[in-house]
Symmetry: C2
Subunit: 199 residues, 2 copies
């Protein structure tokens, strides 16, 4: 059992930084996130992170990107092995999104506070693009089945996604009255169905 005299750090500093960063984000909030503390936790010098992220902001951007990737996967997974009616698929997607939001409140906040200028991270906007296409696909499928009103998919999808996101944001910021968590999500889903149903 050759105890390697610890390698450069313990494998992959870049990945380790991201993992640890997300933990402290979840546990102690975004303001408590410090590069120096991260480095201390991982047993490297405080200057080491700069080899992998030129900036603190660069680390936050990478965190946001990873978040969007995971959210995309979760939303895609919510559509697997499920009924084909629009109501069922919408229900699953809404619950997937809200579930992710409540389980990763601080991360979602970060994801939406990262600047979304076109100049910003190429990969990030590509990722956003990818999963926003999923809600568009949901709407298009609903239209094919005659369960969603006619019209440009983007223009119908926007209010739908807007409602979904608004509920998730309010829920995670603790602004919803306690009674709301009871029927709140059900009411929101029913309301989306009414808003997107054919006349």
């Amino acid at each position: 059992m050759p105890t390697r005299p610890r390698p450069y750090h313990h494998g992959d500093l870049r990945a380790a930084l991201l993992t640890r960063a997300e933990e402290t984000l979840r546990e102690k909030g975004p303001t408590a996130l410090s590069l120096r503390e991260l480095a201390r936790d991982l047993g490297v010098s405080h200057a080491a992170p700069s080899r992998h992220f030129k900036d603190k902001q660069a680390l936050l951007d990478a965190l946001a990107l990873a978040g969007f990737e995971r959210l995309g996967e979760i939303m895609a997974a919510s559509q697997e092995g499920i009924g084909e009616s629009f109501a069922e698929r919408l229900d699953a997607m809404v619950r997937a999104y809200v579930g992710f939001a409540t389980a990763n409140a601080a991360l979602l906040d970060l994801m939406y506070s990262v600047k979304h200028d076109p100049e910003a991270s190429e990969a990030l906007s590509a990722s956003v693009q990818r999963w926003s296409a999923q809600t568009v696909e949901l709407i298009a499928e609903g239209q094919r089945r005659g369960e969603v009103r006619e019209g440009p998919v983007e223009r119908i999808g926007l209010p739908v996604f807007t409602t979904l996101h608004g509920y998730a944001d309010l829920a995670t910021s603790g602004m919803l009255p306690p009674e709301a968590t009871e029927h709140g999500l059900d009411d929101v889903i029913a309301y989306i169905l009414r808003g997107s149903a054919p006349d």
Copy 2:
């Protein structure tokens, strides 16, 4: 013209701190907000702010509270001297909220990121309470006129507010595609009307 040899600072340090803080919040974002810089800008020592805000967080809380107060006023004002139909009143309120959001993006973010535990600022939750009552009143009035479906006002009002807030949040975080700003708000308003109309 007696040049008073500058008073303690220049009038009311507490108010001056809040004003300046909101300016830098708007111009340079929340991470650039520093107590020491605020103090420098106002020509007082870096320890002076602590007489008026025990904490940096206390200043942020006060900022958020002021924001909710102003938002409440704006939404109330949007209902003055306007037609009585639900469609008109809803339209005015949505535009008031979204207008405030886009004009004060960073502040709105701050308002919703302040912890909303019941233990948090008494005044803050009272203020939130006050203006959330306004949307409830809008719904109740619409029901009286037979333009909004029957049911508990809170359960009908939640999806409505959720949509409104979601749009404002997406718009201010720059996540809406450029095409969306064209018809986006109109579409959202029409969708809210459909979602809350009687069957």
